[in-house]
Symmetry: C2
Subunit: 342 residues, 2 copies
DNA sequence: GTGAAAGCGCTAACAC
DNA sequence: GTGTTAGCGCTTTCAC
């Protein structure tokens, strides 16, 4: 079926010749079918079918200076934390014919810079980032381009363009206060060191603030390589329970670790919540499946992705610039979910 | 810093002028630095720095007919099943300067066709698919292009190009025989209907074969909307235990459902493995975290991704065509992991 | 509603 | 080791 001479591929000219029309008609039949008469469209379509034509988007992007690609950077694809958000984003964009270009930064802000530069080379029409903490050059590059940008999973006083998320600080503070209200005396927090992970750091700060409000002393475990893994939760539990005055509840920076901690407790013969209560963060499916089900903070992960998609699609459709400050950071909120684990 | 006239972006010419060289020198400084003298390279680099130049990959791709993009289609990003594979792939490719373009098909073979067409438009230099069951047009499109293609998570007698995975049939058959060897009499299988999911169907077939070898009657639950979710596992357990002759062990088509089943058993007061034993498939972190830990089939998820990356990088480096048939399908094997749940 | 010509920004091919 | 020229395949612009 190949008729192309130069590169061996079917080109738009080949389809046009076969249909007996100009290339522009083929182009329009694909992109703006309304501008082409039904019979023409029919001829073009069958010519495309017969030749197995696949448009070269690189050429279209080059000429029009507008791709259908949206670039997204997430810290990791390894666990489910950002999966819902990516999924919501992917769905919301696909519905409008956009293709997601995903890269993972491994929670490394320096890596994010070079990854972004690489992604920008693909001429995306918008960029989605995770979090609001970025290297200064990220902001500079994106602002210079004037692309729609959505930062997710956090709020910001001064987003690069738009932000969609919730207050990690408030969420952690509220959970801590809720635990205190439930009567827990020694409330511990487990996570990574604050410099390692920005959102985790904000949660830690929220926890500290709550304890300060209550006039209590914080009690934290920060493991250098703490991550969203079951093993992290188990190690944290072991450390805490070995202390002279172990806590009566541990607030984990994420559900995965909290779940790992709960399973470890079951194995160690520690009863939840009577001997040690556990709270998590995220309200992943794991939280409900845990025995006992985990008290946690519900985050609208998929909704964040869907909203990011909506903001982008709107911006691209209207071509509108950033709106007033109050609208630039969209707070989707959170919810304290009290279950049996705490 | 913008000096571009036509589109408002910094172009290679702008960098070249600033550095006082020709555009080709800038191009070479970026792509083949060895061909440019150190002093020239230095001047070019600082000009790029000063202007904030980001190469337009669409132009390069168009001219050279070779991008640095590799397209991958996975069924879902929602759970961790394919996360390790994607991660291994992503790592293995990034090391060689390739960018992964990921799309999800939602386990739908028809959707895969249009998604692939879309992805091919981005001019990827290779394609990674999940599974070996595809719409005929997928094979046709990819063969016509002559791109390196790797099908993952399964083996194939006749892959489109290369396949990297393991025998889902053998894995399920071996696990079933292992359960029989452990003394279980009524071995049930839980999954989706065979027409819904190809790899699951092969596992079901392997299970059936094993029971046929043993001269026993199979006992299956196939839920229409069975998926890699905790809820699917719970529903399967409820259905099975309501039967007149409930099984003494259930082999789940994946660890996520098996785990959900185990948690449901704990809630329902069903003791594992004495009242009901449970086996899974995948050996995800969940399997180890479960109480009791799950007997399962270990799949080298990340290694599949790494191997796929290696095959692609090699193919692209050497430009070699498909090798002899025996090498086209790489069997990474599996391992029956016997833990306390069965 | 349809077509012809021009050119997006880069790199391959060929000079020097 | 560096520059010049041409053109990748599409879409924009302007005619009709």
């Amino acid at each position: 079926m190949k008729t192309g001479r130069s590169t061996g591929h079917v080109r738009m000219v080949d389809v046009a010749q076969r249909a007996g029309v100009g290339t522009i008609t083929v182009s329009r039949a694909l992109r703006t079918p309304g501008q082409v008469s039904p019979e023409m469209r029919e001829r073009v379509m069958s010519a495309m079918q017969a030749t197995g034509y696949v448009p070269n988007l690189a050429a279209g992007t080059l000429k029009s200076q507008r791709s259908r690609v949206i670039a997204a950077i997430v810290p990791t694809l390894r666990n489910t934390i950002f999966a819902e958000t990516v999924d919501g984003l992917s769905e919301g964009l696909r519905e409008h014919g956009f293709q997601l270009l995903i890269a993972n930064s491994g929670y490394c802000l320096e890596a994010e810079v070079s990854i972004l530069r690489n992604l920008l080379g693909q001429q995306p029409v918008a960029v989605v980032l995770t979090g609001t903490a970025h290297d200064p050059s990220v902001r500079a590059m994106l602002r210079a381009r004037g692309l729609p940008v959505v930062e997710t999973w956090d709020l910001s006083e001064d987003p690069i363009d738009r932000a969609v998320g919730f207050s990690n600080f408030d969420a952690a503070r509220n959970m801590t206060l809720a635990l205190a209200a439930r009567g827990y005396q020694r409330i511990a927090f487990a996570g990574a060191p604050p410099e390692r992970e920005h959102r985790g750091a904000q949660r830690l700060a929220g926890y500290r603030q709550a304890l300060a409000d209550l006039g209590r002393r914080p009690q934290t475990v920060t493991l250098e390589d703490f991550g969203a893994t079951f093993a992290s939760g188990e190690r944290a539990v072991r450390q805490l329970m070995a202390r002279v005055k172990p806590p009566d509840v541990v607030f984990f920076v994420n559900d995965v670790a909290a779940f790992g901690a709960a399973q470890a407790c079951a194995r160690l013969g520690i009863t939840i919540p009577s001997q040690l209560a556990i709270a998590g963060f995220g309200d992943f499916e794991l939280a409900r499946a845990s025995n006992p089900p985990l008290t946690t903070v519900r985050i609208p992960g998929e909704y964040i992705g869907r909203t990011a998609a909506r903001l982008i699609v709107e911006r691209l459709a209207t071509g509108s610039k950033a709106t007033v400050s109050s609208d630039r950071s969209v707070d989707l909120g959170f919810e304290i979910v009290e279950r049996e684990s705490a």
